[in-house]
């Protein structure tokens, strides 16, 4: 049941997130094809433009997802209405308009012209990986996030202070503070790179894990009815592990960009421990589900909650570990191994946690307190499996490409090694298979989105093992 009317403001955030997600996958397919048909859509959409659209759409839709999740769960946790639903709506339109304009700018304006007309010269921040947004867009993101934090902070402060809310707020404040480093772009490339990682690494291997942990904990409380005290203790241990390993773990990015040699040791040791918090999330989710006090009828949400922990552990944990030790990274740095890890980690940890909260909250906001009808859930779960298995294959094919790339281009001595482009020709069979797996992912996404159009609602939950401690 939706306990507070203002939670409903999460709905436009979730809907818009899913629309951008679809756009992201379309551009992913374009990129996948350009790897094998190099002049596909050239010069209309060169590779760099398609890549920028693909990665920026991902970042923006995940932010929409995090904001939607926050608007949904913070009032309920705090047991009060949202401070200002109107502000939440205004911010939605501002962020949606700014995001859309930026993407259209990438697609229809030459990048150097975009830099020129947005006056990048005044405060140059553009042209760095994932931070390609015009400076004005970056300022817009900062303003929207600060106003969002104000709205959420006022809500959280006036109500019940739960661990879920505190951890989520900490993660979001960290996200905002670290974003400020996107405005720092020294002329010295090594300094630029060093502080660039303060945004990129400390987001995805730092504060975003707090956001993920808090959303997961909230959904598990709701789905399993397990005592909040138990879940909150797990949450603290998980985020403790995330920050204890992940902060110094930033050093695994400092091996080959200029910083001194002690980072080879620090980065290797601490980042080798980074799989721990993800492994604990798997144990956490499965344990709570085994100890559940009710059989929640929203089986699809349960599947996403389990799935996100497993896939995050595989993608961020295992695939991260594969190439994080400096002697291995010496050969693999900047190859398709990195791409393989990036795809599964982002999908497993952040795409799937957003789809988890959407799977739980959307039916409730649509007047289906116990979830969608059985048919809709089955279709949604088909989407889950198709997208997830496709992502496993995308990752495996990119890993295959990466291993062969290392073998041909990196391992031999100068003179014997294949050049980058000659090596790429040898990888095309892997790229073709990756593209096919990508089309299956797209099919899974279409089926997943289709599940939202199936009518009907699930019946109430049945309790097991005594009364659940909280409402479903």
């Amino acid at each position: 049941m939706m306990k507070y009317e203002s939670q409903r403001v999460a709905m436009p955030y979730f809907v818009f997130a899913l629309i951008l997600f679809a756009g992201q996958i379309v551009f992913g397919l374009i990129l996948g094809l350009q790897y094998v048909v190099g002049d596909f859509l050239f010069p209309e959409i060169p590779f760099n433009v398609a890549r920028m659209v693909h990665t920026n759409l991902l970042i923006v839709w995940l932010l929409f997802g995090f904001m939607g999740a926050t608007y949904y769960l913070v009032p309920e946790e705090a047991q009060t209405e949202l401070h200002s639903p109107l502000l939440a709506w205004i911010l939605f339109w501002v962020f949606a308009a700014a995001g859309t304009l930026t993407i259209l700018g990438y697609l229809f304006v030459d990048y150097a012209t975009l830099a020129d007309v947005t006056m990048n010269k005044l405060l140059p921040t553009m042209g760095r990986e994932f931070l390609e947004q015009p400076t004005i867009t970056k300022i817009g993101i900062a303003v929207v996030v600060v106003a969002f934090l104000y709205n959420i902070g006022m809500t959280a402060l006036k109500g019940r202070k739960t661990v879920v809310n505190i951890v989520l707020m900490t993660g979001l404040v960290g996200l905002a503070v670290l974003w400020l480093f996107s405005f720092y772009n020294p002329s010295n490339l090594t300094q630029d790179k060093y502080f660039w990682w303060f945004v990129v690494h400390l987001w995805v291997e730092g504060v975003w894990e707090l956001i993920m942990g808090a959303i997961l904990a909230y959904v598990l409380i709701k789905l399993t009815g397990v005592d909040r005290e138990v879940i909150e203790k797990w949450l603290y241990v998980i985020i403790a592990m995330a920050l204890i390993t992940g902060i110094i773990g930033t050093g695994h990015h400092f091996f080959w960009i200029g910083p001194p040699e002690y980072w080879l040791w620090l980065g290797s040791v601490f980042s080798a421990l980074e799989p721990l918090p993800f492994f604990m999330m798997v144990i956490f989710a499965f344990n709570m589900i085994n100890r559940r006090r009710r059989n929640h009828p929203n089986k699809a949400a349960m599947l996403w909650a389990m799935g996100t922990t497993v896939m995050a552990f595989l993608g961020a944990g295992v695939w991260g570990f594969l190439h994080t030790l400096a002697p291995v990274n010496w050969f693999t740095h900047g190859t398709q191994i990195t791409a393989a890890h990036g795809h599964m980690a982002f999908y497993g940890a952040y795409v799937m946690i957003v789809l988890t909260i959407i799977s739980y909250a959307m039916p409730i906001m649509r007047g289906r307190p116990y979830g969608n009808s059985n048919t809709a859930q089955i279709v949604e779960m088909w989407g889950f499996w198709l997208m997830t298995i496709s992502m496993v294959f995308i990752t495996l094919f990119l890993t295959g490409a990466g291993i062969l790339q290392v073998w041909l281009q990196r391992m031999p001595e100068s003179g014997d090694a294949l050049s980058f482009m000659a090596g790429q020709d040898q990888l095309s069979v892997f790229y073709w298979m990756r593209f096919v797996a990508g089309t299956f992912f797209m099919a899974g996404l279409v089926i997943y989105l289709g599940s939202f159009f199936i009518k009907g609602a699930a019946a109430p939950a049945e309790e097991v093992r005594g009364p659940a401690t909280e409402d479903a």
């Binding site: 060169p46 403790a240 200029g258 100068s414």
Partner: protein, 149 residues
């Protein structure tokens, strides 16, 4: 988890652990940036030409296809050592290589990866070359493993 491990113990590990490692990270950052980097990034060679080159690198989104020191996209060759690979470590040779290369893009060969024509002036190409030359001289623990990048 055992009952004697309480929620407040878990919270204290989280708070204590994160404060400790944030402070350690800041101290290491200070040491890296203030003590170590001036010795390693040849900043005395960071001329205005190099700075202009970096802005050109950014304003044309070069990192959208290429990698530089292994970071960026993996669609086109690594460029942190292109000064050594294509210029043989010689400034003039590299500049002429860059002029020839930039003026021959895109190749238009069917099915091949295409590099756009960025319409750079001779001076801009020289700035870009200076930026890539400077980058090639950063002490990056000897990466990449061979000349191919």
């Amino acid at each position: 988890m055992a009952e004697r491990f309480t929620k407040s113990m878990a919270r204290n590990i989280y708070l204590g652990g994160s404060v400790f490692f944030v402070l350690l990270f800041l101290a290491l950052t200070f040491d890296t940036q203030v003590r170590a980097m001036p010795e390693r990034d040849n900043r005395d060679q960071l001329t205005e030409e190099v700075v202009r080159g970096k802005h050109l690198w950014e304003e044309n989104n070069c990192v959208g296809c290429h990698s530089i020191m292994g970071e960026g996209a993996y669609f086109a060759p690594e460029l942190a050592n292109v000064f050594d690979r294509r210029g043989g470590g010689n400034t003039e040779v590299f500049k002429s290589y860059m002029r020839a290369w930039m003026s021959s893009q895109p190749t238009g060969i069917p099915g091949r990866h295409q590099m756009p024509d960025f319409n750079l002036t001779q001076r801009e190409i020289d700035d870009l070359a200076a930026f890539l030359e400077w980058t090639s001289k950063i002490d990056d623990n000897g990466w990449p493993p061979n000349i191919e990048g």
